[in-house]
């Protein structure tokens, strides 16, 4: 006679089913770095932490397998997917390919509702960027959310479900790396100006320019991480 008759909906962990809840929590913790790349994911430990059964955890982990956020080897359990600069470089190139194609298609067919959604998303993002300048730590989660919304709004009019699916997959992957950079206060970038450029070009229906700017925007994040890691290596060597 345990007490859980109604699914506990505490915190950011939404999901009507227990598996979905565990899945969402786990995913967040992997993306925001709480669970570090390569870390072993013991079912017993997680089971205790989330207060659910082993099979429930197992199924949540299996889902993350499909999103390449965890790996699983034979009879040796699960781990958080490893992260490396090489992987990020590769990921970024492919994301650029997908995202720019989606953007091009969106610009080609998007109508007024699409445009106004972009305007709204850009406005919200800009507001959060201001807040971020005052309170870098506090507004960070909100910034990630709105950044994602803005990028999604840009390509929302792209008619290809598969492009959207792949984009979601790749974006999520890169979000993990981005947070790593953000948490370690990397070189300051004028992200707002970059967004503004993409925004203007998109609404002006200038495909080539929008695609070019978006591509550069995506690439810059790699540069940021590479610089960060290089600096860390130097520190490690010196200290």
């Amino acid at each position: 006679m345990t007490d859980i008759a109604v699914v506990d909906r505490s915190g950011d962990t939404k999901g009507r089913t227990l598996i979905e809840a565990a899945y969402a929590t786990l995913r967040n913790e992997i993306i925001d770095g709480t669970l570090e790349p390569g870390a072993k994911l013991r079912t017993e430990e997680l089971r205790a932490r989330y207060d659910v059964s082993g099979s429930t955890i197992r199924e949540a982990l299996t889902r993350l397998l499909g999103e390449a956020l965890v790996t699983s080897e034979g009879q040796r359990g699960f781990r958080v997917a490893p992260a490396s600069l090489d992987d990020f470089r590769d990921l970024t190139e492919v994301r650029k390919l997908i995202e720019t194609e989606a953007l091009r298609q969106a610009i080609a067919v998007g109508g007024e509702p699409w445009e106004s959604e972009i305007v709204a998303a850009f406005y919200r993002l800009s507001k959060t960027e201001e807040r971020l300048r005052e309170d870098p730590a506090g507004a960070s989660a909100e910034f990630e959310q709105r950044n994602r919304d803005f990028h999604r709004a840009l390509i929302a009019a792209c008619p290809s479900p598969w492009l959207h699916r792949l984009h979601a997959l790749l974006y999520q992957q890169s979000e993990r790396y981005r947070r790593l950079v953000a948490s370690k206060r990397a070189i300051p970038r004028d992200v707002h100006a970059e967004h503004q450029g993409i925004f203007d070009a998109t609404l002006a229906r200038d495909s080539d320019l929008a695609v070019r700017l978006a591509g550069e925007h995506i690439e810059r994040s790699v540069l940021a991480l590479a610089t960060l890691l290089a600096a860390r290596d130097r520190e490690a060597a010196a200290g």
Copy 2:
């Protein structure tokens, strides 16, 4: 030591763990059409059929979720992913994008080992194509295998793990549609000639031509399915 722990499991239904075995079998049955698009996947039924426990089936199904071969809705269980001409059209466009990019990169950096693997794969494929002409039903599984091997060999030298991953995902999806066409005896296509063209252009390192031919090759399968479905609709209307 970089580890891509994704087991190859191409084709066969064996696997070290029961879950993997169930997963492989299920996947094959979905791809080859034994389990029809949209069909309900009751755990109890599958449990009995494969003689394993419910959770085992459940986990196998969850894996297929990540490959978009099954869908799952809230508390309403699993189904085989639906198939439609629209989906196939979309899928094909995106696959073209990925596969041609991978091919371009492979041609740019591939060395002699890559070339010789292509020659070997092309030879094997050609042999099977001959056999297929005599025994259309019997050699079909082998043809699928070798066709896949050939396409994979073409892009094997592409250095991007993410492109390979996406390609595998999309290729698998389209394989399901292709088998549908094959089983219904569609309009005859000179697939061999198409393969020959891609083969020649690739070994000649003519990126633009190879990419163009590969793109057309991929597109033709859509045409085949569209024609087939149109014919079926006419029959249904008439009969």
